[in-house]
């Protein structure tokens, strides 16, 4: 199965509030709130780390979930957010890690 690389869209504004990530698409003003797991994936979406690695190294240990279930949930979440233009998805790295957009202070 090919790797899945994910990156945060540059059209998105995001902000942490009370432990949840608030995300808004500036193109169509759609608004989402991300739960803790989704927030962790969002924060790790640098375009160069495969989703599988994000799940294994961040999601499974941090949230105490099995890798198979976590991977399936993560793929579903990524699909949904990519449909709304919030995450960009590719089977190859989306950008040089050195050029990756750092998280703004409000997104950490």
């Amino acid at each position: 199965m090919p790797e899945m690389y994910i990156a945060r869209s540059s059209a998105i504004a995001a902000r942490m509030l009370a432990g949840e990530m608030m995300v808004m698409n500036s193109m169509d003003s759609t608004f989402f709130t991300l739960n803790e797991v989704a927030t962790a994936i969002w924060q790790a979406a640098d375009g160069s780390t495969p989703l599988r690695e994000i799940v294994e190294q961040r999601i499974c240990p941090e949230f105490d979930v099995g890798s198979e279930q976590a991977q399936a949930d993560a793929e579903e979440f990524v699909r949904e957010l990519s449909q709304h233009g919030i995450l960009l998805v590719s089977d190859r790295p989306l950008r040089d890690p050195a050029l990756s957009d750092p998280l703004a202070p409000g997104e950490r």
Partner: protein, 275 residues
Amino acid sequence: MTPAANPYACVVEIGGVPISLRTDDAQFRDLLCRRYGGFLSSSPAEFELDFDLTSPARSSDEDVRVRRDGPEWLLERGDFRARWDPRNGRGTVRQNLNPYSLDSVLRIVHSLILAERGGFLLHAASAICDQHAVVFSGVSGAGKTTLTRLAPPYVTLLTDEISYVRPAGAGYSAFGTPFAGELARPGENCAAPVAALFFLEKGPENRVDELPPSEAMRRLMRNILFFAEDRELVERLLATACEFVSRVPVRRLTFFPDPRVWDHVRQWQEVGIHA
């Protein structure tokens, strides 16, 4: 367009922001004075809008579009076309004598000015009760106008349609606006610190419930007047909304439409403010 070309002017101050509205048409100036009578000001204008009344009368049913055009903002709808330069606080508007076009342009310009200052315009009624402002928002039909119609004499109505909210001290203040909804009555030109934002729902009894921050944000973002497709502005707005939700109590107010709802709000306010 120059001041000399537009000899008639009046300064309209909403939310403490005085804007000079200038025209070469005495009839239009009279319309401005009538429409914004309670909000005319002798303060020096911070911003200026020049009106050119040569635009053909077209439908106002189209969606409004607000986008950047170089350093300026371009505001367009079927019945008006305006340019706004935030660098010098000046703009030009082409429209006809239609007062609804005028209201729309003013709302958009204020929303752009407020975005820079950490405030926002909200689809909401607001009123001053016991020296504090309470803001009532919700979808169309949720009860904003009903609630304002039920307001007792000790309540000062700020608006039944568009609330003007901007930071003040450690919190926020709500200002009166001339933008009237179904009540067809402009708000009073005054302001007070915001005690709470309530999202309205009609029900069999009066009650106030907590809202989780994410739900408060979702509802707030749905009701903020926001027009521009611009990431920088969206980022600012999101930061402002988060700041507001973390500083001001945001609750759900379920209410039965009779005057006792105001007693309930007043009681909640007393407990909330002094808690």
